[in-house]
Amino acid sequence: MSDQSKAEIAVAKFLEHTDAEAASFFEACVHCGECAQACHFFLNTGDPKYTPTYKLRPMERAYKRDKAPFASLKKNLGLAPSKVTEEELLEWEPLVYDACNMCGRCTLVCPMGIDIAGTIRKMREGYSAAGMVPEGLKSAAEYVKKTTSPMGVTIKALKAQIARQEKITGIPIEVDKKGADYMAIFSSMEIMGYPEVLGAYAKLFKKAGLSWTISSTAYEATNVGVQIGSGALAKEILERVVNAAEALEVKHVISPECGHAYGAIRWAGPNMMGRQFKFEVVHIIEVLDRLRREGRIPAGTKDDRRMTLHDPCQIIRRGGLLKEPRSLMDDACSDFVEMKGAGVTNFCCGGGGGVSANPRAEDLKLAAFNSKAEQLRGIDGLQAVVVPCGNCRAVFEDGLDDQELELEVLGLSELVADTLENS
């Protein structure tokens, strides 16, 4: 391995991760450029290099040179694309890490239905194997190894937040309760920035009469491994949660209001572990929707502010939870207005896919947020926006500040908890 150049390591990983699915994408792309029209990085900068399909170029080249049907024939005829070089990989590195939220909006406009976001995820495996990763993500990974949290949230800090929420709500939150039905995990952003979500869970689950707990060894849902593109790290992070949940013998693990976390554990999880879990993974929105329909958390007085709902890409577009948050919104507020393009075609906040953890991409992230700001400005008299993703929420706060927009940003669970009957 040591005598391999970085480019060779990356290319080997590219090829390893080019399965029949990725191959079909590379084969089908006709370079029509439609994807640019769906990408908030292109739309807000006008720079052609942010065209989604262009971001895949090095991996596509590696595939066409070494793995595609007729590759060796073309090589012999001198018609194969040239080797991917390290300079080229470095040139592309910001495109792959800073300018893609893996939001998947481009797939919707693509006449070939190419999943560029999923392929970027695979491409990052090559970059991470070659050590070409932005500093911000590297240090997040370091934190994860030390504390399990990309922001360095220790169990001590979590317990302090739990204690405060217990005090505010007057409801005890049991940690490490063996045999509970549900185990909740959170994103660091929620624990440190929006701890009221812990109180909201406590209130809602008490009302529903549902037994739940938080693990002291695996409370972190964010999977930096997925964002960096390191399968090994992603598995290590996931393993903690799976082991803790199985040790506590819970029936369900609740994925929090966090985008990538849901996909990482719900869809990629079993594949990374190579086995099915002994528990079911459910998203908090799914849980609340189910409890609501079962009449266990009846809705009370509605919030009468004019509100809209942001669709976190990994939960709505790529997670399939389209209707659930909307019916919860309808129950919780009397003046719910959809933004233009809401639902599966909604714009990403600009900070997903590890971009918000990457200080180098700060300006680009804020530029991309412009699309979101335009959507928000398009609603007259808007007072609050519900953002069911901790990471999106932090990006919103930065972005709204940058755009000088005065809006309250809420989590969905809190809104549901606040509008509960008799609360």
Binding site: S24, A28, P48, P69, L73, T107, G113, D115, L322
Partner: protein, 214 residues
Amino acid sequence: MGFLDFVEGPLFVIAAITFVLGALWRVIGIIRIGRKKDISPPKGSAAAGFIKGNLRHFFPRGIFARRTWLHIIGGYGFHIGLFVLVFFAAPHIAFLDDRILGFGWQGMPRWAFVLVADVAFAGLIVLWVRRISDPVMRLISDWEDHFGSWLTFLVMLTGCLAMQQSHDVLRAVHMLVIDVWLIYFPFSRLMHAFTFVLSRGNTGATYGRKGMNL
């Protein structure tokens, strides 16, 4: 053997075989790369998603169509026009009847041919000039994109130039370009005509498993 007999006979047979076997080889080659079995508990059917994905992407979404209407009209105009020309131009039907199928069907009248050919040409020209005049397209296009467009253009052009059907030479030139096109096809990006089923289907299958209703 005359030139026309050659390009309609042996060369055409070689080209057609290359086309069929090459395209099969390539599609099978892509599928054979294989992929890991997804063991996450599904919420919906991947197979249904495969079909749905294929159908769904025929229809552009309104929110994007406002930005991409030119490309949609050009793309559909060209592709539909080309299909109609290939299968409903009277000389084509006669050729298929004679050489391959042994049966024919009703061809288009001349006015319809001109109309459809105009739509197809307009579409192809719009697609290509967009490729040279949009910075995004200039950045992402490579020689294959241009070569494929031009070769297809030549196939259509030579066909239309032979429309009077009074000179064998013109028919032979058309056939020659078709033979070249058929041989080039399986090795090139023209293969998108088949691979789109796989790419749309794969994405659709993933969405289907996740129970997404797009």
